[in-house]
Symmetry: C2
Subunit: 439 residues, 2 copies
Amino acid sequence: MIISIIGGTDGLGKWFASFLKNKGFTVIVSGRDNIKGKEAEKELGVLYTSSNVEASKKGDIVIISVPINVTDSVIKEVAPHVKPGSLLMDITSIKEGPSKLMKEYSNEGVFILPSHPMFGPETPSLKRQVVILTPIEGEINPFFKKIRKFLENEGAKVIVVSPKEHDKIMGVVQGLTHFVYISLGSTLKDLEIDIKESRNFASPIYELMINIIARIIGQNPYLYADIQMHNSQIINIHEAFIKNCEKISKIVQEQDRDSFVENMKNSAEHFGNETKRGLNCSNKAVYAISRENEKLLKSIGKEVGLKHIYSENVHCGILKEVYSDYLVIKQNEKEIILNISNVSLMDDKDLKLWKDENLEKYFTDISVLFKKNIDLSIIIELLAHKFEIQVIDTYSGEKIDKNELSVTFRVYSFNKPELKVLRETFSFIIDNIGGKIRY
Amino acid sequence: MIISIIGGTDGLGKWFASFLKNKGFTVIVSGRDNIKGKEAEKELGVLYTSSNVEASKKGDIVIISVPINVTDSVIKEVAPHVKPGSLLMDITSIKEGPSKLMKEYSNEGVFILPSHPMFGPETPSLKRQVVILTPIEGEINPFFKKIRKFLENEGAKVIVVSPKEHDKIMGVVQGLTHFVYISLGSTLKDLEIDIKESRNFASPIYELMINIIARIIGQNPYLYADIQMHNSQIINIHEAFIKNCEKISKIVQEQDRDSFVENMKNSAEHFGNETKRGLNCSNKAVYAISRENEKLLKSIGKEVGLKHIYSENVHCGILKEVYSDYLVIKQNEKEIILNISNVSLMDDKDLKLWKDENLEKYFTDISVLFKKNIDLSIIIELLAHKFEIQVIDTYSGEKIDKNELSVTFRVYSFNKPELKVLRETFSFIIDNIGGKIRY
């Protein structure tokens, strides 16, 4: 079976090309960019053609995987060339428009299955990923069951809805979400709110909101424009939201406490069990933000690694004090003041990695005599809880008693003066667990 | 100096009463509820009177700390009785109205300092807490510097703004935030979106939004009504937001991609460095939500504790499989299916506590001979990384060699059949660290 992927030289199309090739299908990819095409051919072992039409003619399954703003024109280009008996699919994040166009522009006998995979090209497999299928209502499609079964066998969760229902839900999930935060961003600009200063008037939910606005308005605006502008349901959703804003604002203006309360209660009732679930989940999110600050406060007097969020430079030193917007660390006998907003606290693992790569590491070697028949792995496991160690030599032979084993440990530290203390502690422990320091 | 706190028998007023009493001031509290008043008198060692007027007459500083919806009437009641030379303060979360009323209803020679402490009564101290002071512009107030210094000496961060500016910022920080999420909640109801089902169309930002809506609409609606209805700036803020929604909706309707992009870019520019900071912080929040799921996936095959978020019942067993909305655990040879949304994964510490309290614990005692001069605490520290142990007896005397010490360890497990294996592992380790099993 030949599967042609229009736009399969990049992004999610390329992901599907690689995935399907590995599953044993013959895969043809097409795309405008010859260089990317040749690369994909070499990298994935698929066939490349620069002609979308040629790829469409050959495919038993033809999958259109192009950016949302060119989906319509590509459907019009390729749909008429898909051969009867074949399946035409698309994987765009809106479904009503593409469904109609694919139906309209393809020949009699071509089957249509619009789809929306809810994941990106960084996904390792289909396991636990969501794929939405929006088959044409009332149409018998021999491919539908097969595709569904294939996806489910690969571990995907398949949701089947109508194209219209899909667009309505996605209009809310993506469209309304983006719309509200983008509108909030532009409102805060109009009101001339100093965002940084406003964070001083701390409220965790406000901070979370500011963070989400920032996250969205900082991304590629063209993508967000396309998501808004290609969904046929979006204007209805905007209108429903604006209507509710106006209603509630009027209630507030009229000081109509009862209506305000009733409205909130009705919403909570509509949310049902999700109300409690949301509280539970938002606690986790709020906690994540305040947690770093708590961690900083708990780390006063201890060694910390602070990574600058812009430059990614790392400051490593003893944390002296934490104020509301800045902190002081002592690094190589110098006090350094850092803006808390600009740094993020590294976890122990990341700090360890950074130190391994960037700091000079000192060590001391200690030779120990054990009874010959001991299990050295047990000793290493117990000691590794307290020291960073490595066994660099074991010896048994003439120089020592025949019932003894000599083991040389290398004990590491980033702090040279500390080595002396480490040596003493290490030796003391060895003395207590049946070993003897050799030298 | 006498400090009178009107409404000091409960909530934040009571917190200030206790705090100021501990700082050595004479504190009088007033409040309608005689029982609470008598309790506060006993608990805090302050004086109680049921008469707000009496308390106001006596105070060198009078602090009004009553719910927002009765603040106005309490100001009208008490302000005329504050003696000249005294200070009248309030701690309501809106400032423009109370400031004007306090000025209007108090006598010549009474000083006014409206304030807004940005914390709740669960705060242990003023350290790192924000207090907003909104002094009357152009008025010389000998108390202002003293109060500010007092707060700063206690570690508080003091922000000074005008009452109007305060209400504008709080109108955004609290008012706009609540307004948007409450409007979203009622929009989702109008659109008949099945909240639980909509979560299947996974997008972390949408889920976060749903969780915040749920968090807000699930709380006391009267409180939220009061916050909206008492802020004089709120209607302007609503209008600015609705205007921006309408503008962006129109841009989308007209398919005006350039204006959409320009609007987003302008907002991002207004946010400046906060854009990157927000991305950084929202990543932490998003990560917090997905983290539990990742943890669940990593725990497959291992023992987990799952606490039901409504009943708080705990299920403890081996996690067999995790699906998108449910999971399977094996508990006492029985497979149990649980809805993921209804349970939260316990961390190791909580699970340990729960098991200690709820499960039968088994143990085995093992007597070991060590050299008499060993440091037992070192041995215990090393072994505690691998076993839950307790030393129940040590012995040296006639029954054993005079150079030996006998130590009896109790090794615990929640799993009776496992004790045999534990005994073997424990004995093996002891053999390797210079000990001898005694029996």
